[in-house]
């Protein structure tokens, strides 16, 4: 069974492989926030200095995704935090210190570098001025001001060590407490609309907005010491890189990291430049920074986007048209086929992308585009299968019977009569799939697939509308162009007699 699934995936991906970028010898991952991207970039620059071919799959959307990708060997190393490893990834395994953590990871073929020197734990932040007015320095002090408005990120509201646990530990009586999008919380606290929010210890906003972090005087928050997690085989494949990363032990303190974060989020520097600065200060290494111009990026994103949409649509056509024909011609298969492609549609896109990491890794080492292509392929099936089925079933009975009565073979009936008659609906299904695909492919930014999703996700991460628009506008334009192209194709592919019949 598994072999068959593997074979099916291999066949699917065989079509994609030639167009796929050449697999790099080393791959670094990072999460979708500035600090992680800077640390990922720093690793990539180190490897590049050592003469390695390296790819940085930046800004992947979520811990679980990176973890899966690391286990599957699609990335070799990424920056992580001790707290996340112990409380989230290995939750329930009772891991409390670094030695236990290393032992636990060794069983999974992974290893850790020593901590880099800063602890990016959660802190509560207030505007420095407001905190000084009220005389608040520690979290315990908040008890005296139950009327303050507290707004936390949705993640903090839900985490095991988040608001509920914190309030219990400190006996905080506040009632005006709600979840809020993190980016909005920053804006609100800067305007004075809210008093307290959750921050990271190295948050650039602490510098930028003049915030003060309150001391965790009861030691509630676990430590989130930054380090790198890597596959054990990396030590054999690139021993000098692992040595260099281990050499970063204690070299980056919270202040240095905060400054690097601020350089990107406030100063508008690229992550690459910030990483180079950090590297120069920490190890005295001058790394080369590769920056791309706007036009070059747009061109690259367009090609990546078109490749994802084109390949997935092509694969979907090859699979969905026969499935649609089968569903229409074999009544007992119609419900199973339509049901199956319908169920696929209900899987949330992000979940599907994560689910696909491991199966796709059996076929290709590349992370990002192949998963996105497979996901887009799966989502494209429904509109094409359904419209093909509906188009064929919707043919007037007297026409279907005329074709039978004429003495045409089953195959000739399909090709000469039924498919041409169903062609307007089939094309409409393909058009729907293509236009939806253009939009959906932006979600590829979530797993580092490139395309227009990359600037969109980067922009969301940096709260930078200009960068978001660099992805969103071309994506919208491409969707319109695809729509136009299919309208044109309709004129060429739908038989003239059918088009005439629909004009009164």
């Amino acid at each position: 069974m598994r072999d068959r699934a593997r074979l099916a995936l291999a066949l699917l991906c065989a079509g994609l492989a030639p167009a796929a970028a050449r697999a790099q010898e080393l791959r670094v991952g990072s999460k979708a926030f500035t600090e992680s991207v800077i640390l990922g970039e720093l690793t990539a620059q180190l490897a590049r200095e050592q003469g390695r071919e390296v790819e940085h799959v930046r800004g992947l959307g979520g811990t679980r995704l990176l973890w899966e990708a690391l286990l599957a060997g699609q990335i070799d190393v990424y920056p992580e935090y001790t707290g996340t490893l112990m409380q989230e990834i290995l939750a329930g395994r009772g891991v409390t210190d670094l030695a236990e953590l290393r032992a636990e990871l060794a069983g999974r073929g992974l290893d850790l570098t020593p901590p880099l020197g800063f602890d990016n734990t959660y802190v509560l932040g207030m505007r420095a001025q407001r905190a000084a007015e009220l005389g608040i320095e520690r979290i315990s002090d908040l008890r005296r001001f139950p009327a303050l408005s507290l707004r936390f990120s949705n993640e903090f509201m839900q985490r095991a060590d988040g608001w509920r646990a914190l309030a219990g530990r400190y006996g905080l009586p506040h009632e005006d407490v709600r979840g809020l999008e993190h980016a909005l919380a920053y804006e609100a606290i800067a305007r004075g609309a809210i008093d307290v929010t959750d921050l990271y210890a190295t948050d650039a906003k602490i510098l930028a907005l003049g915030l003060r972090s309150l001391e965790d005087d009861l030691g509630h928050f676990p430590a989130y010491r930054a380090l790198f997690v890597y596959r054990r085989d990396l030590a054999e494949r690139a021993p000098e890189l692992v040595a260099a990363l281990r050499g970063l032990e204690g070299r980056i303190d919270a202040r240095a990291m905060m400054r690097a974060n601020a350089a990107v989020e406030v100063g508008g520097e690229s992550e690459a430049a910030a990483a180079a600065g950090l590297l120069a200060r920490a190890l005295g290494i001058e790394a080369e920074v590769v920056e791309r111009g706007l036009a070059a990026s747009l061109w690259r994103h367009t090609l990546e986007h078109l490749r994802m949409v084109g390949l997935s649509l092509l694969a979907a056509l090859l699979a969905a048209l026969p499935l649609g024909v089968l569903a229409a011609r074999v009544p007992r298969l119609s419900q199973p086929i339509l049901g199956a492609v319908g169920v696929i549609q209900t899987i949330p896109a992000i979940a599907l992308l994560v689910l696909l990491i491991r199966p796709v890794s059996w076929v290709t080492d590349e992370l990002g585009a192949p998963q996105a292509v497979v996901a887009l392929f799966l989502y494209s099936l429904l509109p094409i299968v359904r419209n093909t089925h509906a188009g064929l079933r919707g043919i007037a009975p007297e026409l279907r019977e005329s074709a039978i009565a004429l003495g045409l073979s089953s195959r000739a009936r399909l090709w000469r009569v039924e498919l041409p008659l169903a062609s307007p609906l089939i094309l409409a299904g393909i058009k729907t799939a293509a236009v939806i695909n253009v939009g959906f492919a932006t979600l590829g930014g979530f797993i580092g697939a490139g395309g227009y999703g990359e600037p969109i996700f980067t922009g969301i991460r940096l709260n930078d509308y200009g960068t978001i628009l660099q992805g969103a506008l071309p994506a919208a334009a491409l969707a319109l162009a695809v729509q136009g192209a299919f309208d044109l194709a309709e004129r060429l592919l739908v038989p003239r007699g059918l088009r005439l019949a629909h004009v009164p």
Binding site: A403, G407, P420, R496, G497
Partner: protein, 257 residues
């Protein structure tokens, strides 16, 4: 008029039954259609006449009984080949809207690999036979009148020179003027072709005009089988005289100023 010399009947149906849910469309029905005969199936709606016609080319598969075409049993395997020797025309023409009239007529011929020159000459022959202007052949069905569509349908049915012609209410959808005109043409055509013709109609006058033999049906059974004169002069049941009277009345009313 020519009469086919062969002793093998065109169709021979033996104790054929077909049911659609609660409706018994054909009830243990047997019928022999001699080669060269022009037969009209008639009866009130729901009597099973269309089902009977469709059983002859296998569009409808009886639950019981046997259909033989030119001496051989009509089965799922033999049907596709046999259908090429049966022309079939339905009420609305059944023309494929995505093909021009000419492409509709020649579709099967091209599929079976008939030489292009032969296809062309046959097309010219047939358009003359059914009196369709050559220009109409390049139009799409939606650009043709109802009468023209029926002429194209006839051409398509006759393309491979079939031995029998099955027509299911071929004139049912036409206005009275065109209908009368086509009735005359069809009669000439049938005489000229000297083929076996089985035609479904609900109009006794049309059946009388076009068919030499009339089969009157009710509730899936043959009530009377014979000439028009026999139907009128020697009705087998009261239902037959009722049916004849009702049909005549209808025509008198239609004919009234």
């Amino acid at each position: 008029m020519q009469v086919a010399a062969s002793a093998v009947p065109a169709f021979e149906l033996t104790r054929v039954s077909k049911r659609f849910g609660a409706v018994q469309a054909l009830r243990d029905l047997s019928l022999r259609v001699e080669a060269g005969c022009t037969l009209a199936l008639i009866g009130p709606s729901g009597c099973g006449k269309s089902t009977l016609l469709r059983a002859m080319n296998g569009l409808s598969t009886p639950e019981r009984g046997e259909v033989r075409f030119e001496g051989r049993a009509l089965t799922a395997e033999s049907a596709p080949g046999m259908r090429r020797r049966m022309g079939y025309v339905v009420q609305s023409g059944g023309l494929f809207p995505h093909l021009t009239a000419a492409a509709n007529v020649t579709l099967l011929a091209r599929h079976v690999g008939l030489a292009a020159a032969r296809v062309e000459s046959r097309l010219a022959e047939l358009s003359e036979l059914v009196r369709l202007p050559r220009a109409a052949l390049e139009r799409y069905p939606c650009q043709l009148s109802g009468g023209q569509c029926q002429r194209v349908g006839l051409m398509r049915a006759l393309m491979l020179d079939p031995s029998v012609l099955l027509l299911d209410e071929p004139l049912g959808a036409l206005d009275p003027m065109v209908r009368a005109e086509l009735q005359v043409e069809l009669r000439e055509l049938f005489r000229g072709l000297a083929r076996t013709v089985v035609m479904v109609t609900h109009d006794l006058a049309e059946a009388r005009f076009l068919g030499r033999r009339i089969v009157l049906m009710r509730a899936g059974e043959v009530v009377q089988d014979g000439s028009y004169a026999e139907l009128v002069e020697r009705p087998a049941l009261e239902f037959v005289s009722d049916f004849v009277r009702a049909q005549r009345q209808l025509h008198d009313e239609e004919g009234a100023p």
